[in-house]
């Protein structure tokens, strides 16, 4: 049996022109979350408690696409989703379509621990959140100025913002921001690549 191990991610697909300062901010957040998880592991918290603790921290920081700082829908609102799974007995919980739950991963954990189901979504998930007394905030809490700017770019490019596979062309890329992928005939899911743009 080996010792403990932990990994965190903040999303795949990074703007190739991401300013160095933003890269440093991202590394500092990842380091902070790793250290949070490491001290919890050293205090003998179980793996399921540590993953929830670390993802809550990532959701609360607006830097990455989750919780506060989430990507915006075509209507400029936030709809969040999360899941959690405990290896030993393969128990799991998931939520989708959340608009007011401050930490979606903790509601997913409650679905796993306190409901007879493994997945709740939209109004049912929000109702369950109220019953469980989790912290709830207005949808505006999750919306950031930067993401409003990115949504505007995505709409101008008529794109569903995905990740950076083709460095943005034409549209200036804002930090960790959007740009339109050039249409080079590449297909994705049977659709022209141009509908996907860098995240």
């Amino acid at each position: 049996m080996g010792g403990w191990a932990i990994a965190v991610h903040g999303g795949a697909g990074v703007d190739p022109n991401l300013p160095t300062q933003r890269q440093e901010e991202a590394k500092q957040l990842l380091t902070r979350c790793l250290n949070l998880g490491i001290s919890a592991l050293r205090s003998s918290l179980s793996a399921i408690d540590v993953v929830e603790l670390v993802v809550r921290e990532l959701e609360s920081d607006p830097l990455f696409n989750s919780g506060r700082g989430s990507a915006l829908t075509e209507k400029g609102t936030v709809e969040m989703e999360a899941s959690i799974m405990d290896g030993p007995k393969r128990r799991c919980g998931a939520v989708s379509g959340l608009t007011t739950v401050k930490n979606p991963v903790s509601l997913a954990r409650l679905v796993m621990d306190k409901s007879p189901h493994s997945y709740l979504a939209f109004s049912g998930a929000e109702e369950f959140a109220r019953q469980q007394g989790v912290e709830m905030v207005d949808n505006e809490y999750f919306v950031t100025e930067e993401n409003l700017g990115m949504l505007k770019l995505a709409k101008e490019a008529n794109a569903i913002v995905f990740d950076y596979r083709i460095p943005a062309l034409g549209l200036e890329t804002c930090s960790a921001g959007a740009g339109a992928a050039i249409d080079n005939g590449l297909q994705m899911n049977g659709l022209p690549i141009s509908i996907y743009a860098p995240e």
């Binding site: 191990a5 609102t77 989708s96």
Partner: protein
């Protein structure tokens, strides 16, 4: 999208993933992150969290496939991650992090970079963005 995978000192694995989805997405769209077996999976062998182009991750049942190739092909953790990223994504773009029940940590991605960090009990720690 953000995620965390952990194996504790008793060899128990766990995984969690959370996201706002895609910018400019249709309301009501569900991606891979909440789908057990696609964006998130954990069992006795490993814990996996994925990120990237959700539709490709769903079609490839990416997170479960890491556990499956470990279980049925006997691959090690990093081999399994590399295999799944290389063979299961078609033209999709994604990344993932994973831990195994014997204290290993691994990641893989075919996108332009991935924000990730990992650490193990023996003092190893790495935070990175690019290849």
């Amino acid at each position: 999208t953000v995620g965390c995978v952990v194996v504790d000192s008793q060899g128990r694995c766990a995984a969690a993933t959370s996201t706002g989805g895609l910018m400019n997405k249709m309301t009501g769209r569900i991606g891979d992150s909440p789908l057990i077996g696609s964006g998130t999976y954990a069992c006795n062998l490993c814990g996996v969290s994925c990120t990237g182009e959700g539709e490709a991750i769903i079609r490839g049942t990416l997170a479960r496939d890491v556990a499956a190739v470990m279980e049925y092909k006997g691959l090690g953790l990093q081999e399994a991650v590399d295999y799944v990223v290389r063979e299961r994504l078609d033209e999709g773009k994604a990344g993932m992090i994973a831990v195994s029940n014997n204290g290993e940590v691994a990641y893989g991605f075919n996108t332009t970079g991935m924000f990730r960090g990992c650490a193990t009990d023996d003092g190893f720690m790495e935070v990175g963005i690019w290849e």
